[in-house]
Assembly symmetry: C2
Homo-oligomer: 187 residues x 2
């Protein structure tokens, strides 16, 4: 059995190759415990939140939006990046839920947090479940450069949307599996 | 209701800012349907596979490895990048399962495929389930610059590892949910 130190990759040098508004990119030269040299391309990202929001009539709220890396629209759970001044991802989740759906909630419960592409990106996603949804009188505006539309779907519809690939991202599939697990455990 | 064309972001220009061995990075200037201008930072990645492999005695196979973006080890399902010459992700999955676990399988079934960070990266992950596992006589070698160790865990142990954050990535959490859904549906 390997010890923890046998896994460690020690940084020999780092070259910063891109500093954007959202991401930055670096190339690390590393050395493994046995002396093997290797290169690691790394993306740094502030992280984000995703919110499972299910209405009283048992429908999941989805957001339709254009995703430039895929040049297509996708259906996803409400989500967004953690802003520079936000220390608590729960507050990001409350803000994003209001901006994207116009809804507030009586509780915002942490479900899981996790990396998305641990091989190259340090992005963490914090998944929450919003309970006790209510309309906010004057909701905060959406991001100025985002165009979105809401859809409300049953569990059966959500599973069909995964099959058709209209739903095509990990946090949304994870949210739908979480919802189905909750339903099956109730029975 | 918005029409499909109302969502489209048209590329005005693209600046390539980094070309690495694995990822490349570009910045797109785009214009939304109503004329609003915006910038999109994009990461291009060849995509990868993850494999749900459950042994005859009902244990999930996990791979422990160091993940440089987080400077720590994580436990993940067997996984790996699609190589340049690989057209079929199923073949990548068969190769990675053999390299990382020394096992072959009688069937490699597609479960879901999905994006991980659709806001900025075009990476797709293809999730498979390997059935009918058997040891390969002379398995292909692991990647020369990877140090990994296998662990075999029950469903209850896997759920504890999510809570302790030893498991900290979306594909592995999704795989464990999928496994639990399979078990609950059998009852």
């Amino acid at each position: 059995m390997m010890e923890e130190k046998d896994f460690v990759e020690t940084t020999v040098s780092r070259e910063n190759v891109f500093n954007g508004k959202i991401i930055s990119v670096a190339v690390d030269q590393v050395v493994l415990a046995d002396g093997t040299q290797a290169e690691r391309e790394l993306v740094f990202h502030p992280g984000g939140v995703g919110i499972i929001a299910i209405t009283e009539d048992e429908k999941l709220i989805l957001v339709k939006q254009f995703r430039k890396p895929f040049e297509r629209t996708m259906l996803e759970i409400p989500a967004g990046k953690i802003e520079r001044d936000e220390k608590d991802p729960r507050k990001t989740a409350i803000r994003e839920l209001e901006e994207e759906t116009g809804l507030g909630c009586s509780s915002m419960e942490a479900i899981y947090d996790f990396s998305l592409s641990p091989g190259f990106a340090n992005e963490i996603l914090y998944l929450y479940q919003a309970k006790g949804l209510y309309p906010v009188a004057r909701p905060a505006d959406q991001d100025e450069d985002e165009r979105i539309e809401l859809q409300f779907v049953t569990l059966a519809e959500a599973k069909e949307l995964i099959k058709s690939k209209a739903i095509f991202d990990s946090k949304t599939i994870m949210a739908i599996q979480y919802w189905e697990l909750e339903q099956l455990r109730k029975k």
